[in-house]
């Protein structure tokens, strides 16, 4: 992604999740998404940022997270980059709510939400960073 519309760097602290959510919601609105859809996209990105803070950085507050958001043609593209531990999302089991409830489990719900809200969610490595890329179709600009 070159010269994104928005670039935001923040430390790996959950108190900043509300800020991330606000920024992404605004970008999603500007991209043309209806208010409820923009809210959902903001939630998906908040979940991705939560995963970075809690898993890639293991809760350490001094990691750096970079968010890049851009509108590319008919797609809203959001990337989260970090230099924490590489987390393999394939190791996260699929969500079976009945089993979750029985076993009092809770992990993996965020990934499940991300996948339901966004058109695509992918994980990769780029220049030493973990990259979580989320896309959502918007009206052609």
């Amino acid at each position: 992604m070159s010269a994104p519309l928005v670039r935001l760097s923040f430390p790996s602290q959950t108190r900043l999740l509300g800020l991330v959510r606000g920024v992404v919601g605004e970008v999603a609105s500007q991209a043309g998404l209806e208010p409820e859809a923009a809210e959902q996209v903001a939630l998906a990105v908040e979940e991705a940022a939560t995963n970075v803070i809690e898993h890639a950085y293991g809760g350490a507050p001094d990691g750096l997270v970079e968010l890049q958001a851009d509108i590319q043609g008919s797609e809203l593209v959001i990337e989260l980059l970090d230099r924490g531990r590489q987390v393999d999302p394939r190791s996260v089991p699929s969500v079976d709510l009945d089993r979750y409830q029985r076993e009092r489990r809770r992990g993996g719900l965020g990934l499940h939400l991300m996948a339901r809200i966004m058109d695509s969610v992918s994980f990769s490595r780029r220049e030493g960073c973990n990259v979580c890329r989320l896309t959502r179709r918007v009206a052609q600009r």
Binding site: T14, G18, E36, L43, T50, G110, L113
Partner: protein, 122 residues
């Protein structure tokens, strides 16, 4: 508005929880603590009035999942009312509307505890 406050109110056997703000990975401890406190006090008939809940992230949904079995094992339940479209959408997206009774009004949620079956969810 602060990030999250949770007020409670007892109405005979039913305890009402009023989260105001949002429940995410940052605020979930407060919410989870309130749920835990109710269980420890033996309050197992709980209505979560979501009228002032702006949104709930997976951390909050996990907190509900984490306590519901114990509440139901003790003969109680956690029921919800007055979800805004964003919160209701999240519940439906994850299938939570299949696991939990959701009511349009607080009164319906509270009175549903009056009979074993109670009125059907909205």
């Amino acid at each position: 508005m602060s990030e999250l406050t949770v007020e409670t109110r007892d109405l005979e056997q039913v305890t009402l929880l009023y989260p105001r703000g949002f429940i995410n990975a940052h605020t979930v401890r407060l919410f989870e603590g309130e749920l835990r406190r109710l269980v420890e006090q033996g309050r197992f008939q709980i209505v979560l009035n979501c009228a002032d809940l702006a949104y709930i992230a997976s951390a909050g949904l996990g907190a509900i999942l984490g306590s519901i079995e114990e509440i139901r094992e003790r003969g109680g339940d956690l029921r919800l009312s007055e979800l805004n479209p964003t919160v209701l959408g999240i519940f439906e997206m994850l299938g939570f509307d299949r696991l939990y009774r959701i009511y349009a009004s607080e009164w319906e949620a509270v009175s549903s505890f009056a009979s074993p079956e109670g009125p059907g969810p909205a």
